[in-house]
Symmetry: C3
């Protein structure tokens, strides 16, 4: 995979817009409005008294105040400045200073669907927002009764969302950036296999490994014992990454542990992305069966510390891009086969949308 063709300038300056993206966990939308970015727009999300999640552009069409600083009133959000209210599909429901509401008085809205414990948002033309395009959560095992699924964490990162996809696709970084946390050091040196089908890029590595403290904790293994491990990363371009680990006890004594991180990878803006991380296991760890149990929260806090290494390096790479301007030509290596494939797929998707 090395050679001239892979050393191309990659601009990282777009995102497919005709797609559903995970924007938040259900539990993040309580009785207060929540502001988040999607494809460069800041949106305000809230639930009215009917429980329905809504997402509107976070800018009042009247005098541009941020609706997210307002109050939820019934099924509407009230602008903090002059009290104008907006509800489903962005329709204006009340103007305090007059009775007549013009028909075209609306704020831009974004279709939102709640599936499993996730909120999915559609950043472009609502007329194209086909719910059938949302990934099948049974197939993701998030809603499969035979598996145990939990929300995990939401983490914003100051880099393009392509960088986060590539971070997850190049698992050689585990041995260095996270040195000692997620592997015993041999991951980077293990040759991967790759398989591409449509918008799915799948790579896997197999190795024999001694469980580290953190893998033992996460996978309910015995630290220091030796396991057969498979690490499978699956990019579902543009909105998901599924990272599956299989740990098989070499002695055959304890049952095989399978666990997937199902990760929403969401473009906030040109230099902002979100990792929205859920997990699904074929096992339950005592005390960690619920999202809000102290043990689960402690584990998440520990994993998050390691994820901050990803966040920090992505931020530093973005800064290097910013400082260098358009000057950067990157050199790729064999292990980048999946990332290169990802870049090509991404460019094709963005160009196809532009051609429409």
């Amino acid at each position: 995979m090395e050679g001239q063709n892979n050393n191309f300038r990659y601009a990282y300056q777009g995102y497919p817009r005709n797609a559903w993206y995970v924007i938040a966990f259900s539990h993040e939308l309580g009785d207060k409005p929540l502001a988040r970015y999607i494809c460069g727009d800041r949106v305000v999300m809230f639930r009215g008294e009917n429980g329905q999640p809504l997402a509107l552009l976070d800018r009042c069409p009247h005098r541009s105040a941020p609706l997210s600083q307002g109050k939820i009133v019934g099924n509407a959000i009230q602008c903090p400045y002059h009290g104008i209210e907006f509800g489903a599909e962005g329709k204006c429901l009340k103007i305090p200073s007059q009775n007549r509401i013009p028909d075209d008085f609306r704020v831009r809205f974004y279709p939102v669907k709640e599936v499993w414990k996730w909120l999915w948002i559609w950043p472009s033309d609502p007329a194209k927002a086909d719910p059938a395009l949302i990934p099948d959560h049974d197939e993701l095992k998030l809603t499969d009764k035979n598996w145990h699924a939990l929300p995990y964490f939401f983490e914003p990162m100051n880099g393009s969302f392509e960088m986060l996809h590539e971070n997850l696709l190049d698992t050689t970084h585990i041995s260095f950036l996270h040195g000692g946390a997620f592997d015993a050091g041999a991951m980077a040196g293990t040759a991967p296999r790759m398989e591409v089908t449509g918008n799915v890029i799948k790579i896997w590595r197999e190795l024999t490994e001694t469980a580290t403290d953190l893998t033992a904790l996460s996978f309910d293994l015995v630290a220091g014992h030796t396991y057969r491990r498979a690490l499978i990363t699956e990019a579902r371009v543009p909105n998901l990454e599924i990272v599956t680990n299989v740990f098989e006890d070499m002695s055959g004594e304890s049952p095989t542990r399978i666990r997937s991180s199902v990760i929403g990878v969401t473009p906030g803006g040109p230099q902002l992305c979100y990792q929205i991380n859920a997990q699904v296991n074929n096992y339950i760890v005592p005390g960690r069966d619920a999202f809000d149990s102290p043990e689960t929260q402690k584990t998440i806090a520990r994993v998050t510390k390691v994820i901050h290494q990803d966040r920090d390096i992505i931020g530093a790479v973005q800064q290097n891009y910013n400082e260098a301007g358009d000057d950067i030509v990157e050199v790729s290596v064999l292990a980048d086969a999946a990332a290169m494939r990802f870049r090509r797929l991404m460019i094709e998707m963005i160009e196809a949308e532009r051609a429409q």
Copy 2:
């Protein structure tokens, strides 16, 4: 007033320059230089030993150091870097390293006039600075012996100065942004009247209202009692807003309270404005007859907290403008009649200046 014509893109990108603006209170100019912005320029203001206030561009014409970091020496300001001194009309008075001072060695100066307890500045060509254009302070009642006038507060805001004018002109915001502080909730729903004469836009609302804690404090009323209230806002484009409240005791027992906030609205730069707020009453509250009495200062602190809601929303609106670029088309409502009139007046003034 609603409809297509009012939904225009408003650029907020200029200010009339041939006008006097309030830039500071007299008491702010003590024995140290004061730096402030006017129409995009940073100026240094100081008083020489003759007490005269001067305003110069805050950039030494020699090597561009900020004069405001220097010392006042006699009737001049001394540059902190190489000690060159400048005085009235920006004339260089001393070059430490040589005796001869070239005639044309000057820093740009800005005419300043001290009237009442205010400093007025003229941001454009000094030759055009006609003191007769400064508003009549007797007519503003600030110097009228039958009224009681006090400096109140200086508050910088990170938004265009048009936004501050419109904030003051659309009094429906009182019921929402300041909910409960300045009215009992009915202000937004009360129909206003409007009157336009030359550069003066006047709107008023009349209602019957129970005094809130803060209105009771400010107007020396009894909290919880019912009053006939008139709220009159008068924009004197481009430099003043006068907000007058009249509270009439419905029982006829206590005298009518009239109080105006006379507000200098000053463009610091494209995203910076100042509210410079004075008050004039037809009554004196015991203990609050002087600016620096503890009671006055306590009241100002309380009012300032509410004014920070204006400052914060103006900053948030400006951020929304910045994030959206040139994309914004705002929709107006009936209550915006005065603001729309203001925008037209402002555009006319700026275009007239450009045509000169």
Copy 3:
């Protein structure tokens, strides 16, 4: 020197790149990588186990991570992200995920030479980096056995490096910016002489002066006693300034003190420069014979406080340039003769490089 020709707009927007610049002291390069800027590029510097200093572009050619956040491994630096290693001349020495290393897999490198206790860097084409162009450290007396030389301090400043050169060349600022610290107030009023030879601009002033506390401390004089003083500033464009003071005891009792600050003036970027200050004396002060003695460190701390006045005014001037855009025309005075000469020399050098 005053008059029309000197009142020109000076852009401050370039630096000669075919030159060696001081980038750090030897002792700053320990067992951790050091990141610094040169001519707009961020470089990572480190010593391998062979002790050789290396400087590489601080951006991995693979996925643009900052190498300075990585580890030193043998004679190489290991990228913090995917563990790729780079060594002398930027050559890739290891790719963890594959055995073959492509020949052209390199990161940009910068020639570095260690002379005396200084690291000199060459910011442009390594093929042109002739060590003979490094100033002669014997001639600078830094390596002259008859003189006593010490590293002093490294100070970054947020302004163009031309500003720092001009700061050092216009010694009238001593009497104002540092009022009372480095002279007794008469420096600015003393007429200078100037001599220009090739890329060397030399000015000197002679005066009779009472030693201040800080000059007494620095030059081992008696505070309050009167001395004949000569202050000689020598700009060696583009990379050095040598500021020499001679204090002669008027009573003839104590020996003459000569001390030079030999100052690396280094362009970090358009708005960043470094002052890298060494001193060389014809005397040794007891307790201050070594860089890391408590007495030396105390003296450096005291001098650094005064140098921060230079840093702050340079930052403020740069801010004024930024706020004013291209609008600035500066007026010069007689004392600017050396600075004007410096500007012309700088422009000639930059234009000569561009013409190549």
